[in-house]
Symmetry: C2
Subunit: 220 residues, 2 copies
DNA sequence: TAGATTGTTAATCGATTAACAATC
DNA sequence: TAGATTGTTAATCGATTAACAATC
C-alpha cells in the first residue's frame, strides 16, 4: 500500500484528511452500497471487472481506490463480498450511526426527513430547526420543529457533529456560522450560496438548479 | 480565444459537446446566478477578483472559464455586469424556458415541484408522472399526477427534452429507458443507481446519502 | 504615463489509465 | 502449470494555477 501526498486547494471539495481525496471516499461509499446489494442477492465473490460494470467505472479505478487503504482481494479470484463490506464499513465508519441536525423545515427539509436512502448509510436526522415562529413547535414528518435559537444548546447536548442546511441562500451563511460555533464540523448545503468556513469544516454542496440547467448546454 | 480539444471518457460527467467540460458549464451557471444577484444590488462593474471572492474560487479560474467562449471584460476595468449576464445567458441558453418531466411523485418529487431555486434558471417542471395507481389522478403541489404509461405520449406532444428521476433505485433504469425512448436527452437522477445510457444522453446524478456520508470521513 | 485588470501561454498538479509483475 | 485477477508503477491526460504580455 502507498498513500499519495495529495493536498488540494479546496476549490471543489473539502481539504483532505489523510491524503485521500474526497472523490475516492465518495466512490468507496458507492462501492459499499453496491456490495450490500450484491450481498443481499447472495453473491459471495466478485471481481473488480464485475463491480466496475455495475457502477459504470473501470476495474482499475476500483482497485486503485481500494489500494489507498490496503489489500482486500485475492489474486486470481476476486473479492469476498462480505469481508469487503466489513472493511469498507470500518474505513468509512458506517458501523456507528451518524445523527444529523437539519435547519430549514420547508418542503425540501421535509423530503429529506422522509428520504429512505439515508438509512443504509446509518444516517439519521435527529433534530429539525427553523426560525419561523409559525413553524416552531409544529411537527414535520413526526418530529417537533425546534427554535433555531436553541440550536447550540440542543446539538451540543446530543453531541451532533453534522448539519444539513435547507434555508434560502440569503440566510445560509448565518446558519452555517451558527452551526460551526455549535461544534458542527460537516455540513451538507442545499442553499445556492458559497459558505465561508475554516479549513477544518467540511462542506458538501448540492446545487440542484445548476445541475439541471447545466445539462441543457450539452443537449442542444 | 482558444478552445481545448477535451474529450473525456465520461467516467464522471456527460461527454463534451464542443470541447468545453461540464465543470466549466456548471461554474458558468454559478457565475450567472451571482451576477444576477449583483445586478439586483445595483452593481454595474465587477472585477474577476471580486466575483471570485464571492464564490470561493480564484480570479484566474473565472477568467479562464470565460475564455472558452470569448472576451467579455475590459482590461484595467473589469466586467460590465449587465452585458456579462446577457453573454452568459446566450451561452447557456437561459433566455428560453426549459420545461421538465418529473417521474416519481413522492416526497422528494413534491419538494422539487416547490423548489424556488429553479425559476432563476428558467427551469419549470411541467409534467409529473407516477406508476402508483393510488397516486395517479391525484394532485401534488397543484399538478395532476399522470400515469407513467402515458409518458411518451405526453412528453412528445409537449416537446419535453429533460427529465428528473425521483423513483427508487430498483426502478430507475426502466424509467430512464422510458425517458430515452421518448426523446428525453438530459436526465437529473436522484436515484442511487448508475444509469446506463448512450453517449448522446446526458445524466447528472445527485446522490445525497453519499455526499452526506462522505463528510464523516473527513470529520473524524 | 502609471496603475489596474484582463486574456493567455506555460508550468504545475492531481487524477485516471495502461501496462505489467505478483500470485492465487 | 495455465488462466485469472489483483495490486502497483509509470505514462497519460486534463484541470488548475503561476506568470506575464496586452491594453484600458
Amino acid at each position: 500500500m502507498k498513500k499519495r501526498t495529495n493536498i488540494r486547494s479546496e476549490s471543489r471539495k473539502p481539504v483532505d484528511k489523510s491524503g485521500v481525496s474526497p472523490d475516492v471516499i465518495r466512490r468507496l461509499n458507492i462501492y459499499l452500497r453496491d456490495l450490500k446489494r450484491l450481498h443481499l442477492n447472495g453473491t459471495d465473490v466478485i471481481s473488480s471487472a464485475e463491480i466496475a460494470k455495475n457502477l459504470g467505472i473501470t476495474p482499475v479505478q476500483f482497485r486503485k481506490d481500494l489500494s489507498c487503504f490496503g489489500e482486500f482481494g485475492t489474486r486470481g479470484v476476486g473479492y469476498q463480498v462480505s469481508s469487503l463490506i466489513s472493511s469498507l464499513q470500518e474505513i468509512l465508519s458506517t458501523d456507528s450511526e451518524t445523527r444529523i441536525a437539519l435547519v430549514g423545515a420547508g418542503k425540501l427539509g421535509g423530503a429529506l426527513l422522509e428520504y429512505s436512502g439515508f438509512s443504509e448509510f446509518s444516517l439519521r436526522i435527529s433534530e429539525v430547526f427553523d426560525m419561523d415562529p409559525e413553524k416552531i413547535g409544529k411537527k414535520i414528518s413526526g418530529r417537533v420543529i425546534r427554535n433555531v435559537k436553541c440550536f447550540s444548546e440542543i446539538t451540543s447536548a446530543e453531541g451532533l457533529k453534522t448539519g444539513i442546511i435547507c434555508v434560502p441562500a440569503s440566510s445560509a451563511q448565518s446558519v452555517c456560522n451558527l452551526m460551526v460555533s455549535s461544534g458542527i464540523t460537516g455540513i451538507l448545503n442545499f442553499a445556492p450560496a458559497k459558505l465561508k468556513t475554516g479549513k477544518d469544516i467540511f462542506v458538501a454542496n448540492v446545487d440542484m438548479a445548476v445541475e439541471l440547467k447545466s445539462l441543457s448546454y450539452f443537449q442542444k
